[in-house]
């Protein structure tokens, strides 16, 4: 076979290597690989690359030493804030239902919605202040 034909076959074969899929190599490429040391060597580099990349998933990179503490602190702070907000929501839910019942009994009609909102607001404010967390939380 002429050198030029060899070069063409090498180009054709090497185009397939980065796909990492030797199952799909056509017979002529497999045939070429048997006789071409350069292509064989390049293919084995891609094989080593594939294996090396796959092995990185379990090779952790050491995080900076301060990171664990920083995450734990931020998570705890977020959890605390969330608990306060959720607690306030629950409290407000109870107040609203309780007040509705009462108002219903006393047959108060107009202006009740505003009164209810103010009552709920006052209780919510009191509760969040007690926990020492800003209302924005």
């Amino acid at each position: 076979m002429s050198e030029k034909a060899d070069a063409m076959e090498c180009v054709k074969a090497r185009e397939l290597f980065p796909a990492f899929d030797e199952q799909k190599f056509p017979p002529e490429v497999l045939g070429h690989l048997e006789g071409c040391e350069e292509c064989k060597a390049e293919l084995s580099e891609f094989r080593a690359l594939s294996a090396g990349l796959g092995s990185l998933a379990t090779a952790d990179i050491q995080p900076p030493s301060w990171l664990l503490g920083a995450i734990t602190e931020r998570v705890a702070e977020t959890a605390r804030r969330r608990a306060v907000v959720e607690g306030a929501r629950r409290q407000m839910g109870r107040v609203t239902t309780g007040a509705s019942r009462q108002l219903g009994e006393h047959r108060v009609a107009t202006g009740s919605a505003l009164g209810l909102a103010m009552l709920a607001g006052a209780l919510l404010f009191g509760r969040t202040r007690k926990h020492g967390v800003k209302a924005a939380a």
């Binding site: 980065p18 796909a19 990492f20 690359l49 090396g52 990349l53 050491q62 990171l67």
Partner: protein
């Protein structure tokens, strides 16, 4: 990353001590994926913290259909890609600063173990990945390192699957050329 099912379940029930255990067991893996995607330690640390804040909210959504690590990696890559988008919108160039990598020991180290690590293929691979353009890096990390599906990768990056395949192909070619000496010696 090896997080027992009992810890995950306790986290889902709101157990704070279990959540701290989860952080302890998985933060290095989350940081590693974050660093491999964003390419610099400062942003990787930010992504890692954000992942666990997000996890507080979404851990209940983990139903055990996939492995927990697979699910957590998906959450992590999502947060990391969001940060990359935010960065590129602000037009800040994100560069890899190899000297900051904790993985990279000092060049003049006299400790043979450290020296071996420095020259190990894994360490060289990580530094070669970090030097890839962002478009190539994200795809090769998600696909070849973490084994994510093209559909998942394309979806997270907001690109066509065909585009993801082309980027992956080019990334592998570049890595092969960069690591020629190490790979030939394998």
């Amino acid at each position: 990353m090896d997080v027992p099912d009992s810890v995950i379940k306790a986290c889902q029930e709101g157990d704070q001590a279990a959540f701290e255990e989860l952080i302890r067991l998985s933060h290095a893996s989350v940081y590693s994926l974050s660093l491999r995607i964003v390419g610099n330690p400062e942003d990787a640390a930010e992504v890692t913290q954000d992942v666990f804040i997000k996890l507080l909210r979404v851990i209940k959504q983990f139903r055990g259909e996939a492995k927990f690590s697979t699910w957590l990696y998906r959450v992590t890559s999502n947060v990391a890609i969001t940060l990359l988008r935010r960065r590129s919108r602000r037009n800040v160039e994100v560069r890899m600063e190899q000297e900051d990598w904790s993985l990279m020991p000092a060049a003049d180290s006299s400790d043979p173990a450290v020296a071996a690590e420095q020259h190990s293929l894994k360490a060289r691979l990580d530094s070669a990945i970090a030097s890839l353009p962002e478009d190539y890096r994200t795809v090769v990390v998600m696909k070849d390192v973490y084994g994510m599906a093209f559909e998942e990768i394309a979806g997270q990056l907001g690109i066509q699957e065909g585009t993801a395949r082309v980027r992956l192909f080019r990334a592998r070619q570049k890595l092969r050329i960069m690591l020629h000496d190490e790979l030939a010696a394998e």
